[in-house]
Amino acid sequence: MSRTRRTLRWAAAASAVALTATGCNLVGSSEDDSGNDDASGENVTITVALVPDPPGASEFYRAQFDQFEEENPGITVEVVENPSDQQLNAVELMFQQGDPPDVFRAQADGFDRMYERGWTHSLEEFVTDEFIDRFPEGTMNPATSGLHRDGELYTLPLVTGKWDVRVLIYNEAVLRENGFDAPPETWGELEEMATTITQNGGGSVFGYAPTDGKAIAVEILAQTAAPSSVVSDGIDFRTGQPATASPGLVEAVELHRRMQANGAMVTGWESWDGARAFTEFAAGTIAMYPSAPWHVAEVRKLNPEIEMGIAPLPVPDDGRGGYTPMKQSFQPIWSMSAETENPEQSWAVMDFLASEDFHRAYYEEFGTLTAVESAWEDQAAENPDQSAILAAAEEGMRLVPNPILTGGGGAAILQARAQRPELKHTDAAVDAIINNKPFQPIAEALDAQIQAFLDGEVAAGTGTLDDITFPDWDPLENFTPEQ
């Protein structure tokens, strides 16, 4: 026994010596390893949490930050990468553990998730006229920029608001082989062309794909048929009432239900992820699908020779009832942590991320139309794909009311609605399409649930129906905040 004890004591002593020698202990190093040597005027490390999206972004950001470090010798940029669908949770964990990034990417609604928790730093103190002038005139208006909250700038953009446009991507060669010399302009033409192409395709070429397993194409097309708030939230902002059963949205689902029942759509779309549509399109398997514009560059990367056309979305046979919404000038992307110990240096990094040089490099690398339009507008004018995207944005987008930007009860009600994804038409529409069920009664049932939800929120004092009602809004015209 005594020998065992002696051996264990020797082992413990040896371990202690080894740990001391290597500078390790159980409560952390005694030296400040945070990289924050600002007080001594030495190097400062700024942590940037971002996502490696689109493909190749990891290398791109590192190269850009290397360049930034050369131009700013006192600042080192440390990149923390998270998968796109885990970014928000990962950043939240970093905040909770007391080790938040100095700058982080929180896109669209994800920004509000961070803002509501008080984790974002106002950027007002850093903004100069030169900074505002980088962006197109009027886009940095606090009421409509999408980057301001309570009148203060809190986040910076990466892409132009026009990038929210949705387009119809089509294979010119396939259309030509099937006797069509132009893309469809109406839903009726789309259905007819898709059916013909699939019938002629012999199981290897299909006329149409609903973009992904959630049939996001329904939402994209429905935006041409109904007010955008009906499509996004199931509520008509003109009346503040539930409207999932409005004719435009119902017909968008029915169009897809008919095409599914007739076998006009590509087989197996039900299990597609977001990347499958452009992969199959590049392979020549599908002739047409509604899409976000970033698919265009991905298709070109996969198949530079493909005869790809980009057209505005087809509209209902009885005419347009809405437009792809432009809810704000920009989508939020880059935010500064409210807990950063180095706001000046963090701003330097953010200023770089909003610089014309960075935006030009991003555009040239990924073909994305970035927020600083002067970085790409000349080149885009000469690029047929990008010109077509811009033309589609011009034709197919309109400013719409956005209660989130005004804050207050409207924002609170919509945020509560976002917590109830089952109230949105998406899952019910997929069910109707796959299982060939009429959508009208399903939509009416959803509206009853939305009404109950609204009644509950109003009763709970979350907001009033007036907060989500814009009686003067015409979905066929641009909305102005004064309305």
Binding site: D85, Q86, Q87, N89, R113, G213, G268, W269, Q415, A418
Partner: protein
């Protein structure tokens, strides 16, 4: 006699002071500390904490403060989507019990035969899927079964067994059976190993005694091997049941619960509410309640098997 010796060697515990006993075994307790800490920190604490969080409307950030009592549990129990996911999870377990378990036993009996040539190669081949990453298996099967250019559909249509490609993972009727089939194939190897280990606990001399008594192979299997396997079979059954009930990675890698939630299982259901980036804020409290209800249901189903299994155990125990 043996028990008398044992009693004689062991001094009566009642007469020894507790402090002396603690001193005597001090090092044993010290060595237990890391295990207790790890178990407490990574098993017990999360279990208790998740139950506690289930009583809050909590998004996972900061300390939960919005106490809502049993509301999360009521919402879980009243959710059709939860029960759909539960039955899908149960379907995985049911298939494992009625297909994988007996099939693995049959193959284990064959592969336990010393006269079978190359039996180690067969064992290796059957065990390979177990050590292959499930996500990789999911992706490979999604490619193989794809209705466009998938090898399986190409073969089926070329041979003439199918007129048109089968939408294995994209159809609400075929997706769940397809995933269950992949799960059975993936888990088959480990169940086979369980059975082989169980078979090898049966002493050879019992086999030889049965042969001397004139039993043929079938009679030896029926009256010697199977009854002796029963106690271990119960353990294997519970292990297989638990493993298959918690299928997550295969579903997440192939269908993410689709199409139209037809392959949604409870773990993917919980994952969606806790981590879905499209939710304005995660619903950790609700996800914890779903996890707690699922844990209770699993326990209940396991306990329901107990009386039956206890009877079989007593009947089969040597």
């Amino acid at each position: 006699m043996a028990s008398l010796h044992a009693t004689a060697r062991r001094p009566p515990a009642a007469g020894r002071p507790r402090a002396a006993r603690l001193r005597r075994h001090a090092w044993s307790y010290v060595f237990l500390v890391p295990g207790i800490l790890l178990f407490g920190g990574f098993s017990l604490w999360p279990l208790i904490a998740s139950w506690w969080y289930a009583f809050f409307d909590w998004d996972g950030v900061g300390t939960p403060t919005d106490w809502i009592g049993l509301d999360n549990f009521r919402e879980v129990l009243g959710s059709g989507a939860f029960w759909d996911a539960f039955w899908h999870s149960f379907a995985f377990s049911f298939a494992a019990l009625v297909i994988e378990l007996p099939l693995a036993l049959v193959l284990a009996i064959l592969l336990n035969n010393a006269w079978l040539r190359g039996r180690n190669v067969y064992r290796l081949a059957l065990f390979l899927p177990v050590v292959t990453t499930t996500a990789v298996i999911g992706i490979v099967f999604a490619i193989l079964l794809d209705p466009i250019r998938g090898v399986v559909n190409t073969a089926l249509t070329d041979i003439g067994l199918a007129d048109s490609p089968i939408n294995f993972l994209g159809s609400t009727t075929s997706a769940l059976p397809t995933l269950i089939g992949i799960d059975v194939w993936k888990g088959f190897g480990i169940t086979l190993i369980y059975w082989l280990a169980a078979l090898q606990t049966i002493p050879k001399d019992i086999h030889e005694a049965a042969l001397i008594d004139g039993a043929n192979s079938r009679q030896s299997l029926r009256f010697v091997v199977l009854p002796m396997l029963v106690p271990l079979a119960i353990v294997i059954l519970l292990l297989v049941f638990q493993r298959s009930l918690n299928t997550f990675d295969l579903v997440q890698a192939t269908t993410q619960g689709g199409p139209n939630y037809s392959t949604d299982v409870v773990p993917t259901y919980i994952y969606r509410f806790a981590f879905d980036p499209f939710l304005q804020a995660p619903r950790y409290g609700f996800a914890c309640a779903a996890g707690a209800v699922f844990g209770l249901m699993t326990l209940l189903i396991s306990l329901m098997q107990a009386p039956l299994l206890r009877g079989r155990y007593k009947a089969g125990a040597p």
